[in-house]
Amino acid sequence: MLDTEVSGLLQVLDQGFPPVHLMTGAQARAAVAARRVPVDNLDDVRAAEDRVIDTEDGPLRVRIYHPRGDGGEPLPVIVFFHGGGFVLCDLESHDGFCRRMSKHTRAVVVSVDYRLAPEHRAPAAARDAYAAVRWAARHAAELGGDPNRIVTAGDSAGGNLAAVVCLMARDLGGPPIAAQVLVYPVIEPSFDSDSYRRYATGYFNTRDAMRWYWRQYLGGDTVPEPAHHVAPLRAADHAGLPPAVVVTAGLDPLCDEGRDYAAALARCGVPLVHRHYPGLFHGFLTIAAFGPAVCARDILWADITSILPGATPRKAPA
């Protein structure tokens, strides 16, 4: 590998990351949270407020980020789902990332504290994600957002939720979603793709960890029905889904499934921008001070901005 920054960081990550697959959910969560670095970009946004919204399954916590700048036009609303294998992470772990995203895409970001496994099995997380999107669409105006420009976004397991929510919205009667942003998404509990075999260990996210994550989420080895609300590639077809930005990393066991999902979308005529980063690993894009991540984020912000339709003009007063 040419890039010593990448290989150096990989080494540190590999040594430092706890063997979550040998722990309970709570232990793993605590171990990973202990490694968290403090957020250094609090000022990126004008305001961040925590709210609890009502859903069919009970109360759900969200954090809403408002970008700086004068009010004016309604802004896009990005509903964001953090990664962490359906088991780990929370609003805090991705706080810095959400602030950056809000700042650079000039969007209201709604980060969702969906229920985690193994305490809550599939499709609990997906149901929360969908509820959050419906809420955001209904309350867009109140948030200074544009209900015609709702975006779902997420990294890793969050990417799974961002994809699944689009299928749910399509199948279950809305709301309209303008774009989906899937950053090295978790797509399928099958651990034998070429990339799974090549990058099973040594590249931060391991096949063992992925097996364990899925087992926590599924509560076993079977995918509950409807399967595509958990494993989005299983949808009978992917037509009519919102335009997609998909990011994959070359040294990621999940690389192939991300690519396959992108291909499935494109085959069904979904407008697609698929950015592939050879030589990078799962999780790289949210690392704050990491050269390749800074570059990939800049591109991601631009992609989100350009894949969205133009702002809906305000209705002239009658």
């Binding site: 407008p271 697609l272 950015r275 030589g279 591109i299 350009s306 894949i307």
Partner: protein, 798 residues
């Protein structure tokens, strides 16, 4: 729609190459061969680049011509004869014209058009390129082969416009003969161009005044014609010489003295310097290891060179002015001259040291300095170039996400591997900043980069990637590495054009990569092996509409089902008949075809007729060593082998008793052993990209053929070999099939003499009809076919 718009509709292509110098010509050649629709745009009215523009007297190369010439085609290399060690501009220009003709490159170029603008449209992943003539182009990929030394530097001297006499630029020399006879000539500039032209101008002019700001080191070329023996030796040694050069420091086979300057005594050292001096030219700068790294070693070389200058120049004060004092030797390009220092011994030549008396103005009648005035009839500017970046930044380039090249390079050029610029997807530079370029033999650097880039573009096509862009951080790191490498040497101590120091206001950063050509090649190869680490590979689908109306770019992906675009095929027995029909069809479908046969005359003629995508190699299929050679050459020239058609075969009908044992063996050797040797020879190369082998058997290999027992047996055997090979090679991505022609009208069989009235289609097939099946199996349309027989016989075996 505005149809009255008088700007012409853009021409579209896959790959647009700007420049028709060494780099641009080769880029077009490779791009076409890889099956891309390709357009070249060149400002000059013809090919040649540097060697088109720089026609000043004495212009010649300073890297030996046998090295400073293309290596990609052995036949080109062997057929071209360089008359001198260092060829003159007319000869190099003639060579490039020859190359353009030989490979049919001119038809891809639009000459006399200077590219002024290039804008990337993200929705359709395509560049829109505009020329000063109003012509426009749309291309998915844009290759800037615009030259490192192609944007002339015209110093802004007060009063320059007032001069009433003749003004000439070495880098824009007129085509018609320039006469200096009886003229008082002034030359500004004593770099390589000035130093080459000064002795010749001095010969002819009434008087010559040389305006020197900084003296340079110059080493005599010791140029001379190459002798007959040398020509023979050069040809014998060429493969080895090129192999060595490919991984050398500077693209030539030369090495430094085997021991360090301080490990040997004074006498040996002097002898080593003397020997290098006698070899001539720039190599003197690298006599000893570390000579441009260690000041003490460098000092020794400087002292030696200084003594040489002083031994020639008789006037001591003039010699003082000619000896460089401001830079270690070799840290600016050493000039290569023929009689430069001797010129200053002439009574009609004056050296003006501008450090002592700077130019204050140019007047109607000549040049005025702080202390003097020089009346002139002609002023020659040999003032160099806005090197490395000038030709690129002269174009208004707008990349993705709103980036412009001016801002992107405001603090000096930033590139990844000297080929890609972050923010500018699908745009590549050849011999650009950050690559070895001007520090090495630039013909080989161009070949190496073009090969790498065309592979990258072909990989993109294969993977459906529509956009490839360097990551900003990867480029920043590479650029830092380029700079660090330079700072481990003495090079940054010189105010050279490598540093941008010759252009006012240009940022000072060491631009070429000094880490060595061979090392650089290895790094590039590693990046490719790692799946293009450092790049972002983007696939866009259905996003055109999202960024407004743009005409979509047609790429080769939209071509008909049976396409052989980008594929490299070897066909045996292809000089005539069936094989020739295959070769012709393959070329038409976009393949690069290596025609092989024992019949050299017809094979060469066919290759010539089929144009640049076809070449001929002699091959007797029964000779295993010959197979290895053909495979190695094909892989070396084209980088891959996708298709092998074992077409060669012999036919004879005679009762078995009439065959001698040797005749029997001979038939089996050609018809059965030949294809087996071929499959074995190509498999290692073919398995890199995957591929298809088509063995031409016969319907005689399906039923029997009484009266042609040996023939039928060999074809039965070939079917067995094919099926077995299909099983053996499937895991390596190689398909193997047989085509079984019935009666076909070729020179091998006199079809007219046969009675075909009982055949369902009562006629002989044509060679083309067989070729169609072969092409289908060779193409990706036949992707699911392997280990099978495909009968093309007008129903004869039905």
């Amino acid at each position: 729609m505005n149809t009255s718009d008088d700007t012409p509709r853009p021409e579209t292509c896959d790959v647009l190459v700007v420049g028709a110098g060494f780099a641009g010509l080769y880029a077009v050649h490779r791009s076409v061969a890889a099956g891309f629709t390709t357009i070249g745009v060149e400002a000059a009215p013809g090919v040649g680049g540097t060697w088109y523009w720089n026609r000043y007297p004495g212009a010649r190369c300073d890297v030996e011509s046998i090295d400073y010439s293309y290596s990609f085609d052995a036949e080109l290399q062997d057929s071209w004869v360089w008359s001198e060690r260092y060829a003159t501009q007319p000869e190099i220009h003639a060579y490039l014209e020859h190359v353009a003709d030989r490979f049919g490159l001119r038809r891809h170029f639009r000459f006399g058009r200077r590219v002024e603008g290039a804008r990337f449209d993200e929705g359709s992943s395509a560049w829109t390129v505009t020329a000063d003539t109003g012509h426009a182009y749309r291309a998915r990929f844009l290759v800037l082969a615009t030259g490192s030394l192609s944007a002339p530097h015209r110093p802004d001297i007060p009063g320059a416009g007032d001069f009433a006499g003749e003004v000439l630029f070495t880098a824009r020399w007129p085509h018609e003969n320039v006469s200096f006879a009886g003229k008082r000539v002034g030359v500004i500039g004593t770099g390589s161009s000035g130093i080459q032209s000064i002795p010749i101008i001095a010969e002819e002019a009434a008087s010559l005044t040389v305006f020197q700001r900084s003296p340079n080191y110059s080493v005599p070329a010791f140029n001379r014609p190459l002798t007959e023996e040398e020509q023979v030796r050069i040809r014998a040694e060429y493969p080895e010489r090129r192999r060595k050069s490919a991984y050398s420091g500077a693209g030539t086979p030369h090495e430094t003295y085997p021991r360090g300057a301080f490990e040997i005594d004074e006498a040996e050292r002097r002898a080593a310097f003397e020997a290098r001096w006698r070899e001539g030219g720039v190599l003197f700068g690298k006599t000893f290891p570390n000579q441009t790294v260690d000041e003490a070693v460098n000092r020794l070389a400087r002292d030696f060179a200084e003594a040489k200058i002083r031994a020639i120049v008789t006037d001591r004060r003039v010699a003082d002015d000619l000896v460089p004092v401001d830079h270690p030797i070799g840290t600016k390009r050493i000039c290569t001259d023929s009689g430069y220092y001797e010129t200053f011994n002439r009574a009609d030549v004056t050296l003006v040291n501008l450090r002592r008396e700077p130019i204050t103005a140019i007047t109607e009648r000549g040049i005025r300095t702080a202390t003097g005035s020089y009346e002139l009839d002609t002023i020659v500017y040999a003032t160099g170039f806005d090197a490395m970046t000038g030709a690129v930044t002269q174009i208004d380039i707008r990349g993705a996400r709103g980036s412009g090249i001016g801002e992107a390079w405001a603090n000096g050029p930033v590139t990844y591997l000297g080929m890609a610029i972050p923010g500018f997807p699908n745009l590549f530079t050849v011999n650009g900043p950050g690559s070895p370029s001007v520090l090495a033999n630039m013909v080989l650097t161009a070949e190496q980069q073009v090969d790498w880039l065309i592979d990258l573009i072909a990989d993109c096509r294969r993977r459906g990637v529509t956009e490839v862009e360097a990551r900003a951080d990867a480029a920043a790191k590479w650029t830092e590495h380029v700079s660090e490498a330079a700072h481990r040497t003495l090079f940054p101590l010189a105010g050279s054009w490598y540093m941008g120091a010759n252009i006012e206001g240009k940022s000072r950063i060491f631009m070429p990569y000094i880490g060595g050509f061979g090392n650089y090649r290895r790094i590039c190869d590693q990046v490719r092996a790692d799946g293009y680490e450092g790049f972002v590979l983007t696939e866009r689908k259905g996003t055109e509409a999202m960024t407004g109306p743009t005409s979509a770019v047609r790429t080769t992906a939209d071509r008909p089902v049976i396409s052989l675009a980008g594929k490299v095929a070897i066909i045996t027995g292809a000089a005539r008949g069936q094989g020739a029909a295959e070769a012709e069809l393959f070329v038409r479908l976009g393949a690069t075809v290596v025609i092989t046969d024992t019949n050299e005359r017809d094979g060469t003629a066919l290759a010539g007729r089929l144009g640049p995508s076809a070449s001929f190699r002699p091959l007797d299929v029964t000779d295993g060593a010959a197979w290895s050679r053909v495979v190695a050459e094909t892989a070396a020239v084209h980088g891959r082998i996708d298709v092998l058609v074992n077409n060669a075969g012999v036919w004879r009908k005679a009762p078995l008793e009439e065959w001698t044992e040797d005749e029997l063996r001979g038939m089996f050797d050609v018809n059965l052993l030949g294809p087996i040797l071929g499959m074995r020879a190509v498999a290692p190369t073919m398995s890199v990209t995957g591929g298809s082998i088509v063995n031409v058997a016969s319907t005689a290999g399906i039923r029997g053929h009484g009266g042609a027992l040996p023939y039928a047996s060999s074809k039965w055997g070939l079917r067995g070999a094919s099926r077995s090979a299909a099983q053996e090679y499937a895991p390596r991505g190689i398909r193997v099939n047989c085509v079984c022609p019935g009666v076909v009208d070729t020179p091998m069989i006199d079809a007219a003499a046969l009675d075909l009235s009982r055949q369902p289609m009562p006629r002989a097939g044509t060679a083309e009809e067989i070729a169609n099946m072969v092409a289908f199996l060779a193409s990706d349309a036949g992707a699911y076919c392997t280990g099978a027989d495909f009968v093309v016989d007008g129903g004869a075996t039905a």
